[in-house]
Symmetry: C2
Subunit: 332 residues, 2 copies
């Protein structure tokens, strides 16, 4: 019999909690027999949702937590004070080894702080990066770091490159992933102080496939698989992906409704267009792992629906079975 | 009689030099009687191009320059050594007051370095920012700074905010332009060290309309008119705008050709789509001014065609007539 992968899911986090969270969790256990889900949060609310579905009851368990950390709360304070919140309770289960992973659509700040303070870093890891997958022309790339650590140092970026390579190779399945550092020009002498210092260090790494600088313009075209950057820049990239996409789609739709001729055309292209745009939507890939922790923490988008929650949970199986943390430890 | 606005145009700079550059210059003088153009570069080449067109000969003059600065050359060295290059010759004319502005699609590095070393900064300006207009949902916004000065200090960003406000109000015509600082969250306590230090300084500025932090996600939606950021981040924003747009358009087109039904639809929506996408193309706005210099230097895209060159030249008229540099001096 295969080992169960135990995932704690924060039933109270995100814009669509608890409905979509519980639904996603049920879909995950229904899809794969090797998944066990703990749902943390208010028992009555979770029970109410669970009643809607059919699922193997022996692989879903509610762990009551009375409190909820709100998005607007200062994260450090929230993690310290709300001991009985769905996030703190869930992370403690990972820390104690009762679960392999924790998935939440709740407060980013609280998840990042909790990951470090409760779950804790792998020995040698200086900072745990948040690493979402973003869509590219023909696939996906890992954007690392994306919000966990602003004003990073060169040594942090080198660790991001190594952890990102392990993740892309063994979770996403890209052989010998190409690693690039985000820069404002392709030449080695270009960049800000951080990039200039980091570049030679990455070049010296024998265990990654470093291809040099990548310009932001080339990221969507898919020039590399692991996109290394400092968190402020990573956050700008992630958010702008969303923003440019949304505005452009809005304009395309608006433009197509401008004349009768194009209105008819719009009706005909609509299904194909919808399919295309879905393939360029970052949220479909589930959550972003917070790498380098003693356990796995996955932050999914605040607006996540059941599909993303399911994908986030399923991703934890690959993470455990491929022994990602052991592989990260070997590289440090 | 109205004063002529004298613009030096680098006829040798960019991917489409000299053909498109000369063509754009001719279109500018044919469009507006108040424009005088000097074309710097190899006389024979420029004459050959000019022969193709009809235009008022008394408002176009060739200034021969034997050398050309290539994009790959180290900028400081190129500006110092190639005294007879189209860039150095043109910038010296602005410095000596023989011309009001210099427009080039050539090496960004050389233009930025030349602007500072040859044209020189307005007294009090610490760093001259490069400030392109980028498209938003219903208009444009000024992205300042975008490539001139990486690792900027808070005082630089405050100057960018002031100069950008003057430009948006008096060149683009936006009353009381909203100024935002690029950040990774909307709250004042968020951000990296630079943003945290700059935020209160911007809040104190009585002469700008500071609206606080803007997240990259909201930039394309047009939440502010002047987008203040450090050059590395600005460069990432500008390039990613291009990259996401290009990839998304590629995918939309590809998606529409996937079935017969959508192929027919694609034919019908094509004209409307083309119009829409044009309105979201950053290059249509002509070049980006390098602000804060004793004169105006405009960097247009390396791939500029006649239209962008013409727009870059026309933009110089507004800049001079609105006395932008005098207004900037008053704010320092």
């Amino acid at each position: 019999m295969q080992d169960l992968v135990k995932v704690v899911v924060d039933a109270m986090g995100g814009d669509n909690a608890p409905e979509e969270i519980v639904k996603g969790a049920v879909e995950a256990v229904n899809r794969q027999e090797d998944i066990f889900v703990y749902l943390t949060g208010r028992k009555a609310d979770i029970e109410g949702e669970l009643r809607k579905y059919t699922f193997p009851k022996e692989r879903v368990e509610i762990v009551h937590a009375e409190e909820v950390i709100e998005t607007a709360e200062p994260p450090v304070m929230a993690i310290r004070k709300k001991k009985d919140s769905s996030i703190v309770v869930g992370m403690n289960m990972v820390k104690r080894g009762e679960a392999d992973a924790f998935v939440s659509s709740g407060s980013s700040g609280a998840i990042l702080v909790g990951g470090q303070l409760i779950v804790g870093r792998i020995k040698g890891i200086e900072r745990p990066p948040l690493a979402p997958l973003i869509p590219t022309k023909d696939g996906v790339a890992l954007l690392i770091d994306c919000g966990a650590n602003v004003d990073a140092r060169p040594s942090h970026l080198v660790q991001f490159a190594k952890m990102g390579s392990v993740y892309m190779e063994h979770v996403v399945g890209v052989k010998n992933p190409r690693v690039g550092i985000v820069n404002i020009g392709a030449e080695e002498e270009k960049g800000n102080a951080l990039v200039k210092e980091t570049f030679p260090l990455l070049k010296e790494c024998g265990d990654i496939n470093f291809i040099g600088s990548v310009e932001a313009r080339d990221i969507p075209a898919g020039v590399c698989d692991v996109i290394v950057c400092e968190a402020f820049v990573g956050n700008v990239i992630l958010k702008l992906y969303e923003g440019v996409g949304a505005t452009l789609i809005h304009k395309v739709k608006e433009g197509m409704l401008g004349s009768l001729r194009s209105k008819i055309g719009a009706l005909l292209v609509k299904p194909a267009l919808k399919e295309t745009l879905k393939s360029f939507d970052a949220s479909q890939y589930g959550g972003a792992p917070l790498l380098g922790l003693n356990g796995l923490v996955v932050k999914s988008h605040g607006s996540s629906k059941a599909l993303e929650i399911k994908n986030s949970i399923v991703q934890c199986v690959q993470f455990k079975q491929q022994k990602i943390n052991e592989k990260i430890k070997e590289k440090m």
